[in-house]
Symmetry: C2
Subunit: 221 residues, 2 copies
């Protein structure tokens, strides 16, 4: 079996999707984390001047999505054919775009908290529209999983995105301006938590554990 | 053989990588283009509210990179194994990041041309550093191709990026502050033009044709 070492800051960030794939599939790996002040040292070792990277039997692979897609192939989480693999890729890239406003919101929250509400209002319309598009696309794929008839890495990334949205921008998650999108998101998370074994993931090594416990509590009964 | 229809605005933009793959591989397809004022009609037909998308025997695949990766698999342009495929993915995503400052520059050029020089100066340092990182990574892959021992879609995207840089931000391409990065870029383009058959591509249907003829003229003798 190959030997895997995932190298990243001591944070969820761009490594978390790969950690979820490892945790879900049960493939053993070293979850190597370094502190922010040690970045100059690790940057010099990184393949493209960035983190995370994955070491596969010592060979370094950069870029978070490339790493996660590689691991998803190893874990048989890319669908049953090239069309399904492409649909997974499309959903992952689409969610990446949804993360952009979240990044802005986290920054505003830290640097200018009184501007947070206005910042959230700026994004809620487009975000709701995008979530409805995603819901429609997924419904067209069968609707039970993000793609096809089994869990893929697209489901795990969707789960991760909903988690981030709830933790970092509950104002957006509340979706008071977008009740349909809210219903879709809550539906997805409830489904993902109940159906695809993520409870098991939570008892494993990925760092999403504690904050998910929190977000479970915030789900409506 | 599958029937392919690529749907996008009448522009290079995010469809050009897929057009280059079609052109390079000789796979026949319909290059369906619509005008900007017709976007509302096509948006309603699009799988995720975005363009481009690809129709494969009538089935719609969204997201430009997901489409290009799918076509690269069809055209045998993703390397010889999963590690090489992951390295292609990493280079494509890395170049996507490099395109971000280019998009800003194109906007400034259109809306506030007198601020263009200052805008370019803002980006040249980081861009040069990133290009040197990419050069180092590619050198570690063997150095003759972006990945492994044959052309992949990463080479085509690199070619496309250099083209865009030369057309939209010659101030950055000039790299007066970064002679090594300039040398690397010129080396790549000369290499790509001479070695991997892109002259043949130029006589085909991709829309890069005319502007590349222009950029060839701007190469140093």
């Amino acid at each position: 079996m190959s030997k895997y070492k995932l190298v990243y800051f001591n944070a969820r960030g761009w490594a978390e999707l790969s950690r979820l794939i490892f945790a879900y599939s049960g493939i053993p790996y070293e979850d190597f984390r370094f502190e922010r002040e040690d970045w100059p040292t690790y940057k010099a070792e990184s393949p493209l001047g960035q983190a995370p990277w994955l070491e596969v039997n010592g060979q370094k692979l950069p870029q978070s999505k490339a790493v996660a897609r590689y691991l998803a192939k190893v874990a048989n989480l890319t669908g049953v054919n090239d069309i399904e693999a492409a649909k997974c890729d499309a959903i992952v890239d689409f969610i990446m775009d949804l993360i952009e406003p979240l990044k802005v919101i986290v920054k505003v929250k830290q640097e200018n908290p009184e501007a947070l509400e206005d910042e959230c209002k700026k994004h809620i319309g487009k975000l709701s529209e995008q979530i409805l598009s995603l819901e429609k696309f997924i419904a067209g794929n069968g609707g039970e999983y993000a793609v096809g008839n089994q869990i893929t890495w697209a489901d795990l990334f969707l789960f991760n995105f909903i988690h981030d949205l709830m933790v970092h921008a509950p104002q957006l998650y509340d979706f008071s301006l977008a009740p349909t999108a809210k219903k879709i998101l809550i539906g997805w998370q409830t489904y993902l938590l109940s159906r695809i074994g993520l409870q098991n993931v939570l008892s494993l090594k990925c760092s999403i554990k504690l904050s998910i416990m929190h977000s479970k509590l915030s789900l409506p009964m």
